[in-house]
């Protein structure tokens, strides 16, 4: 049993030691620019990736500013799509499962927005549909994927955050994705804390 745990953690550790620093930095720049123009951040994924998306929305909208909630009148506007479960079933049942993200996203998406697409395979048809919608409107795309780097999401994204593993390693990919999403939260939390500390000095 110990060996199993060790083996799993070593594989995660190897990936964490080689995070795509440059692409993560580009993603942080995309988010910074969206904040400066008061744009919105739409995030989505299937299954575990949807859970990651929702978790990140909570952290990014609130935890980033939690040390100084009153001092930041303007905060991030991160939104998971679809915003209701009813929309998922309506689009899936009436139109098709490949439209559950692109369909609702089309209602909201403005030129000043950005999107974050999460897909372990990078090839989920519904994720790709929404990414293609964003690309057609020249809205910046942060793509968070796994498995093979030739996946469609990684090809289309402006910031290509890719965690390379064998096909099917969902647990490892989603675990590392969680760390990367938390890194983004922590970066902006530290940044805004730093700005407040500087202003009060």
């Amino acid at each position: 049993m110990r060996e199993y745990v060790k083996n799993f953690s070593e594989r995660v550790e190897a990936l964490l030691k080689n995070l795509p620093e440059e692409e993560i930095a580009k993603a942080l720049n995309i988010l910074q620019a969206a904040y400066e123009r008061d744009g919105r951040i739409y995030i989505f994924g299937n299954g575990g990736s949807m859970a990651l998306a929702t978790h990140w929305v909570c952290d990014f909208n609130k935890t980033v500013f939690s040390h100084n909630l009153d001092k930041h009148r303007r905060r991030f506007q991160a939104i998971r799509v679809p915003t209701t479960d009813e929309e998922i079933t309506a689009w899936a049942n009436d139109i098709g499962f490949e439209m559950i993200f692109a369909g609702p996203l089309q209602n909201y998406l403005q030129d000043s927005d950005v999107i974050i697409a999460i897909s372990s395979s990078g090839n989920s048809p519904n994720v790709i549909k929404a990414v293609e919608l964003a690309k057609s409107r020249k809205v910046p795309v942060i793509g968070i994927s796994g498995f093979d780097s030739s996946n469609r999401l990684n090809q289309l994204a402006d910031a290509k955050i890719h965690v390379p593993t064998e096909k099917g390693e969902y647990e490892i990919v989603e675990g590392v994705h969680g760390v990367i999403l938390h890194l983004m939260t922590k970066y902006f939390k530290d940044y805004f804390d730093h700005l407040i500390a500087k202003a009060e000095k």
Binding site: E22, A33, S136, K138, H194
Partner: protein
């Protein structure tokens, strides 16, 4: 109505190597950052008014596009095949001709707005390219391409101009600590001397072949500047700015003058590591990199020189670096295509 915002920029080293006579022989390179001063272009559809209206320092309203005085708006509208039913306004947080690239910021914003007006979405590269084409080929300005790319992409970048006319924009990926450190080590002053880039660049362009070696050194120094930003070597960055400025001064006779030299020397003798004039030269802004604890001394001595020289519009410009490029903030031009 469509509202587009484009940032101004400060350039550090490599200016002048974005002119075609140079980069056709070997790649030119500059390093610059977008700042929190913006140009806004607003485009409004006026289907009931068969005119072209342009509102800037003056308001023009013409029946025939060829009667419009604003050269860039005229050329851009003609290029897009628009000759009536449109109103274009611009707003700016800074006066024109300060050396912060505002005229190209305006062009990129205009291009982006006119494309949106025609229902086309374009990315940062396409907008920069189209704005360069507008200013350089259609209007015939003797300028380079660095400002169009800086305004279109936003952020802190190395911009490389290749002999085949392609341009590479490589972001310098600095975290907020490095960004704020450099930002806090900068002082920027508007000299109060407005100048058109074209007046200086015409002579500079004529000198390109004789000054090829100097320009090559300027282009080559760009990666080193980025490395020093990464290392947080503020004094080294100041020294590089100074070397770059001395090289630039040698490119054309009218890049500096005695007023600019006196302002510059006042900053250096009060403790700045180095500095430069922003823009093509002859006026515009003077910028210093300095120790944070010397900022007040520098402010005081340079203000004194400005008062002696009767520069009534002289003033400090506080700046922040921004990641924003040229962006559509609002697009409410839907009614003519929707069923509502």
């Amino acid at each position: 109505m469509i509202v587009v915002r484009a940032p101004l920029r400060i350039s550090f080293v490599g200016g002048g190597t974005d002119l075609p006579d140079f980069y056709h022989r070997r790649p030119g390179r500059v390093i610059s950052t977008a700042i929190d001063k913006f140009v806004y272009v607003v485009v409004n559809r006026t289907p009931m008014i068969d005119k072209v209206t342009a509102r800037y320092a003056i308001t023009e309203s013409v029946e025939k596009l060829e009667d419009l005085k604003h050269t860039r708006i005229k050329a851009a509208l003609s290029y897009h095949g628009i000759n009536k039913g449109i109103e274009i306004s611009s707003f700016s947080s800074m006066p024109a001709k300060t050396g912060l690239g505002s005229s190209s910021s305006f062009s990129v914003a205009l291009i982006k707005a006119l494309n949106a007006f025609q229902g086309k979405k374009i990315d940062a590269g396409e907008a920069a390219e189209a704005a360069s084409h507008l200013e350089i080929n259609l209007v015939g300005e003797p300028i380079g391409k660095q400002d169009q790319y800086a305004a279109s992409f936003g952020g802190f970048n190395i911009i490389q101009f290749n002999p085949d006319e392609s341009v590479n924009v490589s972001p310098v990926l600095i975290d907020y600590k490095k960004r704020l450190l450099l930002q806090d080590s900068l002082l920027l002053f508007y000299t109060g001397i407005a100048r058109a880039a074209s007046s200086v660049l015409t002579e500079q362009k004529a000198n390109i072949h004789s000054k090829f070696q100097t320009l090559s050194e300027m282009a080559d120094s760009v990666p080193e500047f980025a490395e020093r930003v990464m290392r947080e070597d503020i004094s080294g960055l100041g020294a590089m700015l100074q070397q770059g400025w001395l090289k630039k001064k040698s490119l054309a006779s009218n890049i500096s003058n005695s007023t600019i030299d006196d302002l510059y020397n006042a900053g250096i003798s009060s403790g700045a590591y180095g500095g430069k004039i922003l823009g093509a030269g002859g006026g515009g802004c003077v910028m210093f990199i300095c120790p944070v604890d010397k900022k007040d001394d520098i402010r005081e001595s340079i203000k004194k020189v400005a008062a002696e020289k009767n520069l009534s519009d002289f003033r400090e410009i506080p700046i922040k670096f921004v990641q924003s490029g040229t962006e559509i903030l609002y697009n409410g031009d839907h009614f003519h295509t929707s069923f509502s």
